[in-house]
Symmetry: C2
Subunit: 198 residues, 2 copies
Amino acid sequence: MPTRQQEKSRQTMEELMAAAMLLFSENGFAQTSIAEITARAGYAKGSFYRHWESKNQLFLQIVEQKLYEYRNVRDRRIEDAHDLEEALNIIWDFLESMALDRQWAKVFLEFTVHSARDMELRTEMRRRQYRLSESLFAKLVRRFVTSDYPAEKIGALNTALFEGYMVHNALETGVLNLHDVREAAIALALEKGIRQSG
Amino acid sequence: MPTRQQEKSRQTMEELMAAAMLLFSENGFAQTSIAEITARAGYAKGSFYRHWESKNQLFLQIVEQKLYEYRNVRDRRIEDAHDLEEALNIIWDFLESMALDRQWAKVFLEFTVHSARDMELRTEMRRRQYRLSESLFAKLVRRFVTSDYPAEKIGALNTALFEGYMVHNALETGVLNLHDVREAAIALALEKGIRQSG
DNA sequence: GTCATATTGTGACCATCGGTCATTTTCAGG
DNA sequence: CCTGAAAATGACCGATGGTCACAATATGAC
């Protein structure tokens, strides 16, 4: 059982996380300073580093918390899928739940691209299943793929369409909506995964 | 005709640009400081601001220079296209030429996402045709679209697949190659653009 | 209660960043 | 030469992510 001190520490951490989530979604990852986060929660800057070793680590923890429930639902539902189309729809339900909060979707994308220059961070992200990786996607749908088109590529194409839509959305060009992308991605995956390729 | 001083100024600018291009492609946009650029070219930091008003402006100028020739070739070739497939292949030749230099593709993507928080910068990028916007894409292919699926959406889906691939590539996951994406994007566009939808 | 100890909280400090600007250096034209 | 204009400089500014010696506070043995 936690001591009173540990309890206090946990509460401080949660207050800092709450402030950070608010500021990240309002102003983005790069534009949110650690001093802002601690000030918003009523602490001094130094307190931040009692709980996380960097802004990256805080962000990873927030994402982990945000995605935990979604992922469980997805993985539970996908076991009951009967064909590729059903599996894809379950995956896209999950992807949509991420994209629907436009502010957060923007921050997700920002962090994904930010990680491109930091191999350690990318490794950490893979470990925490931050992105729907190609291998994970492949694992989810492989049993339904009847063509000789690799399941990893089907996954990667779907992820590409999703993340490309995230860029489109972040730039607020507004031509595509989620339904368009989902429909196109599933059509593409069915074409590749069911029909025999050339 | 330029005076010797103007000539010197132009040369300094080119030296700074050359240093910047090298450093951007090596370390990315955010990770390259103005002091690094000027030091590499053998000048003091203040010299930078005689030629550009910000790091963003320098980057836009570099991109403009890099894309100018590619764009001309694309727009000249596309006038001779006879159907949607030909037009799409010409556009994807252009997109591939951008993606082939993996280092620069990474920087392009970084800057695109960086611009998501800066409306003025996005406006400037549109003005300079930094991205293959949906409206430009639509203009290039509209005359070949026979279905009732909006040309803008076909363009946006292609751009999404391309930029999603850029993300994929930046993270070095390595499952997809350019050929996979191009083939899938063109198949998708033909499906939407030629066959009657719904 | 008291006091040594362990934990939590603090904010001055550091190097670095993009950007500014008064000052110095360079150089063309008379 | 001399002078005015243009080019080059680097100290300086506020802000950043991150560090760390120190202050405040809670804990457990007595």
